[in-house]
Amino acid sequence: MRSLLLVIGALLLAHIALLLAHPAPAAIAATTGGLDVGIVFDVGGRGDKSFNDGAYRGGERAEQALGARVHFIEPGEGSDREAGLRLLAAEHMQLVMGVGFIFTDDLTALAKEYPDTRFAGVDYALALDSAGKVIPPPPNLAALKFREEQGSFLVGALAALVGKSKKLGFVGGMDIPLIHKFEAGYRAGVMYVCPDCTVIAQYAGVTPEAFRNPGRGKELALSQYQSGVNVIFHASGSTGLGVFEAARQMDRLAIGVDADQYAEAPGHVLTSMVKGVDAVVLDQIRRARDGSFHGGVQEYGLAEHGVGYIYDEHNRALIPDSVHARVEEIRAGIIAGRIVVPAVR
């Protein structure tokens, strides 16, 4: 019993020490004049090859192009996310951003607490009240959302045009509405160019672990490839690395998500459905500087360069010119509103 208390005591002490030590590097006093922006990364921090790296690029570009001073905080697990945001708000940053839907509740609470500070949440998840209506975010909080379904629609059309099979695959991470959006757009894109195609959609699980389970991703992809699928689109975080591994092993194609994932399996990544986190971060910092910042829900789709797909010197060989032309035509159709993309399955 005594030893148990000792262990708990030691852990507690270490924990408190870490809490005190962690935010220190970011505690740079905000100087007057100029534009000070604070960005708190999602778990994983820089080097995630996805959201956080995109936000970092956006911040860097804002420093070069707009002369902003951007302060980054990389939280560990759990509660110090809120502490990071609070620290930045207390330092009177002109704009405080949280990267990732995980910041939704913390941002909402802090925006109410600091009504004079501007907040922005990338991938902010809108809450619904008991009547099923959307609860609007506070007026000083910009809820930034991506129209993932539009980008997914394009890669769906591309997959069906290139795939040489009536079966197309989809591997999702956690079985939640956010990921269903990808599936819905992808499915609609496939059907748009190939009405008699079918989409096999599978999810890795029902817990957040489902985004970090490449072993499961590989098995899901192997079973899809074995059933005659030639192209799989994944929206599953690092679970998707298993999908790429399966694509290598079976010599088939896969489609990346969030960032350009070509390097994960060169020659087997048809394209990637990218989210322009950097463009969104830059846009918000520019708005904060120009005074055109406003709260509320802001959606970034194809037209705003919030989503898109990769077509460059790496994957050009995998995509025939006629297919590329067709997909560009569809893109123009979506931007012009001629094609309406569903966001729910």
């Binding site: 080097g47 970090r212 092993q249």
Partner: protein
């Protein structure tokens, strides 16, 4: 026919990490040390296997490094619980958290990434439909994983060491009176459990040709469930591992057919577990000295 073969091959591929971890966990638990640590050992093993393969270019050396990583974590756990008599559950949780933190830290240090390592040399099972079962031999860890259960059963029931393990797990005082060093037996059992669970992790990393953050994804806990499910007997625990793997495979295959709502399909492994636990296992009796000094 090929569907049944595909099912079997997939079940075996999924079962291998469970089998390694459960084989190790049975040894530690039978010696009286709670195996909450399997998850951490797997993650540590996966990371050090990847690192070994990255630096040497050989997956075999990678697997050996994986074992070394698992044993290092296991000895830490052994020292804290056996030498310093820390609570086994608390120490186990600490080891799991430590494994998450350490792997993340070194991933960033070596590869400057918080998500995944570079691609390394590894083993992959062949998946051509012609020889689905033969393809399993392409990854030598798969036959090892299937053999490890009988080996551990033999070790536990047919060797003097196994007798000592069971004695210190059931009645350490009695073992002491006949001259068995309880501490030494427990140290060896925990180190072996670290080595075996780490091989399960090494399988994951070498099959993926890379390490990704948190890639063990709860498999160590499933192995622990399999141990309890198998009433601390290696063969029964191995069967439980195969059962869990088959349920997962069923879930994957049924999801692909899309005949049943996905929510029901996602429930299959959990529902099967509850049904089997209630209906088949009966009362589970842990080793008498489990968790005690």
């Amino acid at each position: 026919m090929s569907l049944a073969l595909a099912f079997l091959a997939q079940t075996l591929r999924i079962a291998v990490p469970y089998l390694f971890a459960a084989a190790g966990g049975v040894l530690a638990e039978r010696a009286g040390i709670i195996s909450l640590t399997l998850e951490g050992f797997m993650l540590g093993g996966a990371f050090s296997a990847m690192l070994g393969s990255y630096w040497s270019g050989s997956p075999w050396i990678g697997a050996l490094c994986g074992i070394a990583g698992g044993v290092a974590l296991a000895l830490l756990h052994a020292v804290s619980t056996i030498r310093f008599k820390a609570d086994q559950v608390v120490s186990g949780i600490a080891i799991n958290l430590l494994a998450v933190g350490l792997t993340r830290y070194f991933l960033k240090l070596v590869f400057d990434s918080s998500s995944n390592s570079l691609r390394v040399a590894g083993f992959s099972a062949g998946t051509s439909t012609g020889s689905l079962i033969g393809g399993l031999l392409h990854n030598p860890l798969i036959p090892f994983g299937l053999l490890i259960i009988p080996v551990v059963a033999w070790l536990l029931y047919r060797t003097p060491f196994g007798l000592r393990v069971r004695a210190v797990g059931e009645h350490p005082e009695a073992a002491t009176t006949v001259g068995v060093s309880v501490k030494r037996v427990r140290y060896v059992a925990v180190a072996l459990s670290g080595a075996l669970a780490a091989l399960g992790g090494a399988y994951l990393a070498l099959d993926q040709h890379q390490f990704t953050d948190g890639m063990s994804a709860g498999r160590g806990f499933i192995a622990l469930a399999a141990i309890i499910f198998g009433r601390w007997d290696p063969v029964r625990a191995g069967i439980a591992c195969l059962f869990f793997a088959a349920a997962e495979t069923l879930q994957i295959q049924l999801q692909g057919m899309q005949a049943i709502p996905s929510q029901f399909v996602q429930m299959i492994p959990y529902v099967l577990t509850i049904v089997a636990l209630v209906g088949l296992v009966g009362r589970a009796m842990p080793p008498a000295a489990l968790g005690r000094e």
